[in-house]
Symmetry: D2
Subunit: 142 residues, 4 copies
């Protein structure tokens, strides 16, 4: 599963496709073994008490699986989330960025399946885990 | 499973506990059979093309299960999401509110399990379904 | 979503495709609104104490979603399970058949999504719920 | 998370608690980092065509999470599956044992969360992945 879109090219692509998330995420690593994405800790993701919200963690897992998939299939392609199962296991550290470590378990003709572990930066044990399935519709002939 | 917090009392409670979601959600119905919550269509939930984002639908499902659970166990209690499985099935209608129809399948001593169907208002078939588990930690003696 | 294979035709088809499950399952109802399948209580599904095992309940949910899908797409087609999320909520009644009430939430070109509630016969509240996704590969031209 | 029940002690315990699975499973490795369990390929798990059935793979994932949890909390304790999400990704190899590689992501006071990858022996890529939650009820005072 060769990487067709590297980190440098991916961020502008992501912000072009989803302008509303500009500035929310960064890519720490993107290679054949592992993608590490970062959710910058911002006030609007916080619950009272300062931890990151469930929807923000879901969003990070979802965008990670999207990036890991698109990096392999290329930007002409389409990908839509069809399923996510997520377990919230520990309270994230207030004020810390959240890191997603994402692996592609399957990249088929019509589906990709990714596994994501989420960590508060600086904490050894994961705060959440998620698995996501993306459907890869055939591209319309141009 | 008697309702201990009705719709009128729930909205101020919800906005007190999660001030960051003030104005995002409404309650159309809250009784023993069914909770219907509404996500007001706002610009910031939209993807380009105008549909509601995955994290916004996750957030609506999550808050519905929280409201359905708290309505039964009362506001002194605690509840944290431990698991969500969500299937995205259809593209939401651009500009339409999203409605969550939530049922409580189990309310045990330590867990509640809820089932949620999400609809674009005015569309017959669901855009997504979700099941959520909340852990109900024992309340510290006061 | 018209029914193309009714209950009478479905059981012989099921036992032809999966001979190893012959005698395990029955169909109580199969129409456009609802499928009800039955797992006959047999010794080999039991745990000590006499309740139905988790794998047996998973198997019932899985076969229900398969039957509900095949009833609509027809027997020339293929369908393989790609995802199942299942919540076990209550202990099944020892010695009682388990009933699956299965609804098709989506039948697309390449995926079907089904929702299943499992009941011990004679008990009002569900023992488990499951959602299943089947992938529908294109049929090879004949 | 120290191991309190090692592989030698675990197999007799497992067959005492679940006599119906005697002979189905083996333990290749059980330590703090990883549990590897094996489903012996037997005729009754096979579909026509010879691959391992979905319920048999579910059963292997479920028993792995049970063993990994009990190994840490000890045999006086109770553990019941509350949720499983499983993705079936590839067709298992006919006639090959299936190996489950199970990691404990969380062991809390009332819940354990495990992650499982399933492999056909001799095949590099996983055939399925699963995450499971066990509820750990308090033990009745003796």
């Amino acid at each position: 599963m060769t990487i067709r879109i590297g980190a440098d090219e991916m961020m502008p692509f992501l912000e072009e496709v989803f302008p509303q998330v500009a500035g929310m995420f960064g890519i720490d690593r993107l290679d054949e073994d592992l993608l590490i994405m970062r959710l910058y800790s911002h006030e609007r993701h916080l619950r009272p008490g300062g931890t990151v919200s469930g929807p923000a963690m879901f969003g990070l897992a979802d965008v990670s699986a999207y990036v890991a998939t698109m990096a392999r299939i290329g930007r002409e392609a389409l990908a839509v989330t069809t399923n996510c199962s997520i377990d919230f296991m520990r309270k994230p550290v207030a004020g810390a960025d959240v890191l997603a470590k994402c692996r592609v378990l399957k990249l088929g003709r019509s589906l990709s399946v990714c596994d994501v572990l989420l960590y508060s930066e600086g904490m050894a044990e994961p705060v959440a885990r998620a698995s996501l399935t993306y459907s890869l519709p055939p591209v319309a002939a141009g």
